[in-house]
């Protein structure tokens, strides 16, 4: 039951992009087309799931026994950087076509603050191993939902007439704001 709650809260209620502002940079940067947004979402989901697992083990079996939890930030970001590199290499070997489609966005995941954010959140919330992974995957699915929906909105915006000083980022931000209002509606769900 708790697992289901964590999953649901990650996807809808505490949506990372729409209510917590983690991962806003790729959300605004990679949401021009639905297909690339979906690719980015899948890659982030994978990295966040695995990162939650690995950082949990690092925290429990390396940082805590050695009493160096103050190195958490440094240790986690290094784990994530290595992980992203690894994922890049594996995808390149296993499926070159997917690698080509994601190409540019893969290394960017390292600096996606949603990934580092979820791993630190797992620790501060005191989740166990399974809850951590579920939280990682759930939050990532929430990110994916938001970015894919928003890419759909932006594809429409591209073809409409907008006053000059609203063009580009301002209209994008206002559209994101309106979508965030819609996501506020999930607040009472849990």
């Amino acid at each position: 039951m708790k697992i289901l709650l964590i999953l649901l809260s990650g996807i809808l209620v505490n949506n990372f992009v729409m209510s917590k502002f983690y991962g806003t940079c790729p959300f605004l940067g990679v949401s021009k087309k639905v297909s690339t947004a979906a690719g980015m979402g899948i890659a982030v989901t994978f990295v966040m799931g695995v990162a939650s697992l690995v950082t949990y083990l690092v925290q429990k079996y390396i940082l805590e026994p050695l009493n160096i939890t103050y190195l958490q930030t440094i240790a986690f970001i290094l784990v994530i950087a290595v992980l992203v590199q690894l994922v890049e290499m594996v995808i390149n070997k296993v499926s070159p076509s997917l690698y080509k489609a994601l190409g540019v966005y893969l290394p960017l995941i390292t600096t996606n603050c949603a990934v580092l954010g979820v791993t630190i959140l797992n620790m501060t919330e005191g989740y166990n191993l399974i809850e951590s992974v579920v939280n990682g995957v759930g939050s990532a699915l929430g990110f994916m939902l938001a970015i894919v929906l928003f890419a759909g909105v932006r594809e429409r915006l591209e073809s409409s007439k907008i006053p000059k000083c609203f063009q580009g980022f301002p209209s994008t931000l206002i559209a994101a704001g309106l979508m965030a209002i819609a996501f506020l509606g999930f607040q009472g769900l849990i």
Binding site: M18, S19, K20, F21, Y22, G23, T24, C25, L28, Y70, L71, Q72, T73, I74, I77, L78, A81, T110, T111, N112, C113, L116, G117, I120, L121, T124, K164, C165, F166, F169, P170, S171, T172, L173, I174, A176, G177, L178, A180, I181, F183, L184
Partner: protein, 214 residues
């Protein structure tokens, strides 16, 4: 030397303002600007990390092989972020509490990374400090402006002092998440409108000058 220092400094502060011009570091910009004290604190913390990391990266730029430079930069940046985290926890626990997760997340702030890669890795330590200072304060100014707008409309206060009177009902939306996107979007519209007018005036003056010459 002094002239170059000022020029680099002003470039970050105004011409290439990280928030309004380069559109970098959106996550902390949107998330912590609910109150002026948070925006200011976040800006200054980021400035400190930016200046220190720019300085150190500029010092080591000739020793680090380019293949491993990104992990090396990350370690430098993460070290200073840890320092900030500990100092805030010790001396400003209230601010540390309200910024929360966004303090460790300074590590992945694109501004710091972008300046390390685009400026500090190619320039001498002194101008790197100037760049860090300018960019950091530019970021701080933008955060302060945004948070002032949001705090004023959302709660009717500035830095916690009631400005619009005790009876001001407060527009909660501006303090909640959607308000972040909306305020930044509308502030950018204003920025673009003002800059557009200035550019148009400049172009008109230039055209007039050319006309009189002809």
């Amino acid at each position: 030397m002094a002239n170059k220092f000022t020029k680099t400094f002003l470039n970050g502060l105004v011409n290439e303002n990280p928030t309004f011009r380069l559109v970098l570091g959106m996550c902390p910009t949107l998330a912590v600007t609910t109150a002026v004290s948070n925006g200011l604190g976040m800006g200054l913390a980021t400035t400190f990390v930016l200046v220190c990391s720019n300085f150190v990266i500029s010092l080591i730029r000739n020793f680090v092989p380019s293949k491993v430079r990104i992990p090396a930069y990350i370690v430098v940046i993460a070290t200073f972020v840890t320092v900030v985290q500990m100092v805030l926890e010790a001396f400003l626990p209230a601010l540390s509490e309200s910024l929360g997760l966004f303090i460790p997340l300074i590590v992945v702030n694109c501004i710091i990374f972008a300046r390390a890669e685009a400026f500090a890795a190619k320039n001498d330590p002194v101008s790197s400090i100037a760049d860090g200072l300018g960019m950091g304060l530019g970021f701080t100014c933008s955060l302060t402006v945004l948070s002032a707008v949001r705090e004023l409309i959302g709660a009717g206060t500035l830095l916690g002092f009631p400005v619009l009177g005790a009876n001001y009902p407060g527009v909660l939306l501006f303090v909640l998440a959607p308000g972040g996107y909306l305020t930044l979007g509308l502030t950018m519209v204003a920025f673009n409108a003002v800059m557009g007018k200035i550019d148009a005036k400049r172009a008109a003056r230039q055209a007039a000058a050319e006309g009189s010459v002809a």
